[in-house]
C-alpha cells in the first residue's frame, strides 16, 4: 500500500471527525472517498496532507510514517475544493510557484510550466488571471499547479463541486484519463456516488467519521456490507414492513432496502410473466418520471411506495394504472448488518434467472 492510514482518530472539540479510520491505497490507483456531507472526508484528506494533525494513529506514505512531517515535506499535491488559485498571480505564475520556491532555475521552471500547460491544454492562457477563467479552466490550472512539483500523491477535495453540471461529466473523464496518464496515486473526495463509481478505481465509503466499506465500484454497488452503504448507494427505497410482500419474511429485521432494479411491474396480460403472476402484488402507478433512457415508475403497493425502472421499449403505461408488482430480492437490515434476501416464491435461483423474466427470447423487452 502506497498511502496507508491506521486507526486514525481526530476530534474537533467534541465533534469526532475521524474514528478508527484505516485504509490503504495502492500505488498509481485513483480512489474516491465517498460519503455524505459532514462525514469527515475533508478531514481525512487534510490529515494526509498534514494540514490537520491526527490525534491518534499513523499515516504512512510509501512505507514511511509522515505524522511528524510538515505539509511541504510530504510530497503531496492538493487540489482544493474551490481550487484556491493564487488570485494575484496569473496562470503561469500559479503553476510556476511551487517550482520557484524549490529554487529551480528559470529555464527549468519555464520548461516544466510549458510541459504542464500543454498537458492540461491551457497553452495561450498563461497571462490570464484566475478570475478571467471558466470553472473548468480553473480546475485544470489547479491540477497543473498541484502536479508541478512532481508530488508522489495527489489529493483532490470535491474537484467537480464548483463545476457546471453540464460539463461535469466531460471533466470527470478528462481528470480520470489525466491521472491515469500521469500515473500518480490519487485520492479524491466526493459526495456524489455516480462520480465515485465513474471515476475511481476504488471507493472508500465514509459515514460519521468511520469507514463503512472499501472496495471496487462494482463491489460497493453489488454487495454493500453495512446498513449505511445499502441505504446510500444506488437509488434505495426504505420499506419498513416488508413482510407484507409475498415471498419475504420480515421477522427479526428492522427494515428493507429495495432498489429499483430489484422490482418489476408488468401488466396482467404479459405472457412473459405468466409463471410468476400468482406471486405478484397489485400496485397502482403513482408517478412516472422520464429519465432519458428509462422511466422511473413510482408504485403504491398496499401503502408501500416502491420504485422500478422501465424500458422505453415496453408498452406505454399511465398514472393510476394497476400493475402487477414483483420484488425479486431486497437487502434486509438488522442493526448495522444486512443480508441479501431473495423472494422465496421464485425459488433459489430466481435472481440468477432474472433475465428470463425480464427479456423475451429475442433479448428485448416485450411486455
Amino acid at each position: 500500500m502506497f498511502v496507508e492510514l491506521q486507526d486514525i482518530n481526530k476530534s474537533f472539540g467534541n465533534v469526532k471527525a475521524s474514528q478508527g479510520v484505516s485504509f490503504g491505497i495502492e500505488k498509481g490507483k485513483l480512489s474516491a472517498l465517498l460519503g455524505p456531507s459532514g462525514s469527515g472526508k475533508t478531514t481525512v484528506l487534510r490529515m494526509i496532507a498534514g494540514l490537520e494533525t491526527a490525534d491518534e494513529g499513523e499515516i504512512r506514505i510509501d512505507g514511511k510514517r509522515v505524522n511528524e512531517l510538515e505539509p511541504r515535506e510530504r510530497g503531496i499535491g492538493f487540489v482544493f475544493q474551490n481550487y484556491a488559485l493564487f488570485r494575484y498571480m496569473n496562470v503561469y505564475e500559479n503553476i510556476a510557484f511551487g517550482l520557484k520556491v524549490q529554487k529551480m532555475s528559470r529555464e527549468e521552471v519555464k520548461n516544466r510550466v510549458e510541459e504542464l500547460l500543454s498537458l492540461v491544454e491551457l497553452k495561450g492562457l498563461e497571462k490570464r488571471f484566475p478570475n478571467e477563467l471558466s470553472g473548468g479552466q480553473r480546475q485544470r490550472v489547479a491540477f497543473a499547479r498541484a502536479l508541478a512539483p512532481e508530488p508522489s500523491v495527489l489529493l483532490l477535495d470535491e474537484p467537480f463541486a464548483a463545476i457546471d453540471a453540464k460539463v461535469r461529466g466531460e471533466l470527470r473523464r478528462w481528470l480520470r484519463d489525466m491521472i491515469h496518464r500521469v500515473g500518480i496515486t490519487s485520492i479524491f473526495v466526493t459526495h456524489d456516488q455516480d462520480e465515485a463509481v465513474e471515476v475511481a478505481d476504488g471507493i472508500i465509503v465514509m459515514d460519521k467519521g468511520r469507514i463503512e466499506q472499501t472496495g471496487t465500484p462494482g463491489e460497493i454497488y453489488r454487495t454493500p456490507k453495512t446498513a449505511f452503504v445499502a441505504g446510500f448507494i444506488g437509488e434505495p427505497v426504505i420499506i419498513k414492513d416488508f413482510g407484507r410482500l409475498k415471498g419475504f419474511s420480515a421477522e427479526g429485521y428492522d427494515h428493507a432496502v429495495i432498489r429499483p432494479e430489484f422490482v418489476e411491474a408488468f401488466k396482467s396480460d404479459n405472457a412473459h410473466f405468466k409463471k410468476i403472476l400468482p406471486f405478484a402484488e397489485k400496485g397502482v402507478i403513482k408517478d412516472i418520471v422520464f429519465r432519458g433512457n428509462t422511466y422511473a415508475v413510482k408504485l403504491d403497493v398496499g401503502g408501500m411506495e416502491l420504485v422500478c425502472h422501465r424500458s422505453l421499449e415496453r408498452r406505454p403505461i399511465e398514472i393510476g394504472e394497476q400493475m402487477n408488482v414483483i420484488v425479486y430480492r431486497l437487502f434486509a437490515v438488522k442493526g448495522n448488518d444486512i443480508e441479501l434476501m431473495k423472494n422465496g416464491n421464485l425459488g433459489d435461483d430466481s435472481s440468477d434467472q432474472l433475465e428470463k423474466y425480464l427479456y423475451g427470447d429475442s433479448g428485448y423487452f416485450v411486455g
Binding site: P71, F80, G98, Q102, N131
Partner: protein, 290 residues
C-alpha cells in the same frame, strides 16, 4: 440595465422621494458640520495677509510642534503596522484560548477616552506608578536618563495607544474573507512561512493595510486628549494640535489668527490623507469585487 433601473419603481426603503430627501439632508449636514468649519479655518488663517500667515507658521514653537507631530505619528505608524499585522494574523490564522478576549482588548482605545489613556500613563510611569521602578532600573542599567511622563516618549506612547486598533481592524476582515486555502496551497508546494506571507497574504491585505495606515496616520496627527495629558512644555513636548490650542487660548487677536494658520497645516495634511484614502478605497473595492 441603468435605464431600467432609473425607470423602475425602487423597492422597500428605496423610493425616489426618500432618496432626494436623504441626499439633501446629507449634503447640508456634511457642508455645515464638516466642510464649512474647515473652509473657515483656511479663510481665517489668511485674514491678516500672507506675510502674517507665513510668519505664524514658522515660529520656533510651531516648527518644533510640527516635527514632534510628524515624529510621533511616524513612530506610531511603524509600531502599529508591525503589531497590527501580527495581531491580524494571530487573530485570523490561529485559534487559541482567550482569542476573543485578545480581540476585544485590541479595541480598548476605541472605547476609552484618550484623556483617560493619557492620565493612566501618568499614573503608570509617574513617580509612584507600577512601571516607574522598571524605567528607573533600565535607566540605571543603561546609564540613560529616559523620562517618560511629560517628555517625548510619553507623547509617542500616547499616540501609539490611541491609534493601536486602526490597522488590525482594517486587515482582520480582509484576512478572514481571503481565507486560508491559498496560504495552505502555497505551503504544501514547499513555501516557507515568510514566503507565504510575502507572496500570498500581503497581496491580499495590501490595500486594507494601506488604508489602515492612512487612518492611523490621520488619527495620530490629530490626537489631542491623550497627548495633552502627558505633555507640558510648549516648544518641546507640544504637538501641532496642542500648539493650536495654546495659541488660541492665549487670547490676543493675533494669536487667534495664528492658531488658525497653524490649524491650516493640519487641515492640509488631512486633505492629503483624504485623497490617499479615497485612492486606496477605490482599489480595495476593485480587488474586493474580483
Amino acid at each position: 440595465m441603468t435605464d431600467r433601473k432609473d425607470n423602475a419603481k425602487l423597492k422597500g426603503i428605496r423610493h425616489r422621494s426618500i432618496e432626494r430627501v436623504l441626499i439633501i439632508i446629507s449634503t447640508i449636514f456634511a457642508a455645515v458640520m464638516l466642510v464649512l468649519p474647515l473652509g473657515y479655518v483656511i479663510v481665517q488663517s489668511f485674514s491678516k495677509g500672507a506675510a502674517f500667515y507665513l510668519s505664524a507658521i514658522t515660529t520656533e514653537n510651531v516648527i518644533s510642534a510640527l516635527q514632534l507631530s510628524l515624529f510621533a505619528a511616524g513612530i506610531a505608524l511603524l509600531v502599529n503596522t508591525f503589531f497590527g499585522i501580527m495581531a491580524g494574523i494571530l487573530l485570523t490564522r490561529y485559534s487559541f484560548r482567550g482569542k476573543q478576549v485578545l480581540g476585544a482588548l485590541i479595541d480598548i482605545p476605541f472605547s476609552v477616552s484618550p484623556v483617560i489613556a493619557g492620565l493612566s500613563y501618568i499614573m503608570l510611569f509617574g513617580r509612584t506608578g507600577w512601571l516607574s521602578p522598571v524605567v528607573d532600573d533600565l535607566n540605571s542599567l543603561t546609564g540613560l536618563g529616559v523620562k517618560i511622563v511629560f517628555a517625548l516618549p510619553g507623547v509617542v506612547l500616547a499616540t501609539i495607544f490611541v491609534t493601536f486598533p486602526f490597522i488590525s481592524r482594517e486587515i482582520i476582515p480582509v484576512l478572514n474573507a481571503a481565507g486560508t486555502d491559498e496560504e495552505e496551497a502555497a505551503g504544501l508546494m514547499g513555501a516557507g512561512a515568510f514566503t507565504v506571507f510575502r507572496r500570498i497574504t500581503l497581496p491580499h491585505m495590501k490595500w486594507a493595510l494601506l488604508y489602515g495606515m492612512i487612518l492611523c496616520t490621520a488619527r495620530a496627527l490629530g490626537e489631542f486628549g491623550a497627548v495633552n495629558a502627558l505633555s507640558r512644555t510648549r516648544g518641546e513636548t507640544f504637538t501641532l494640535p496642542l500648539e493650536v490650542d495654546a495659541l488660541y487660548l492665549s487670547g490676543s487677536a493675533d494669536s487667534i489668527v495664528a492658531a488658525f494658520a497653524v490649524s491650516s497645516i493640519l487641515v492640509l495634511m488631512a486633505m492629503l490623507l483624504l485623497v490617499l484614502k479615497t485612492f486606496t478605497e477605490y482599489h480595495m473595492n476593485k480587488t474586493g469585487r474580483s
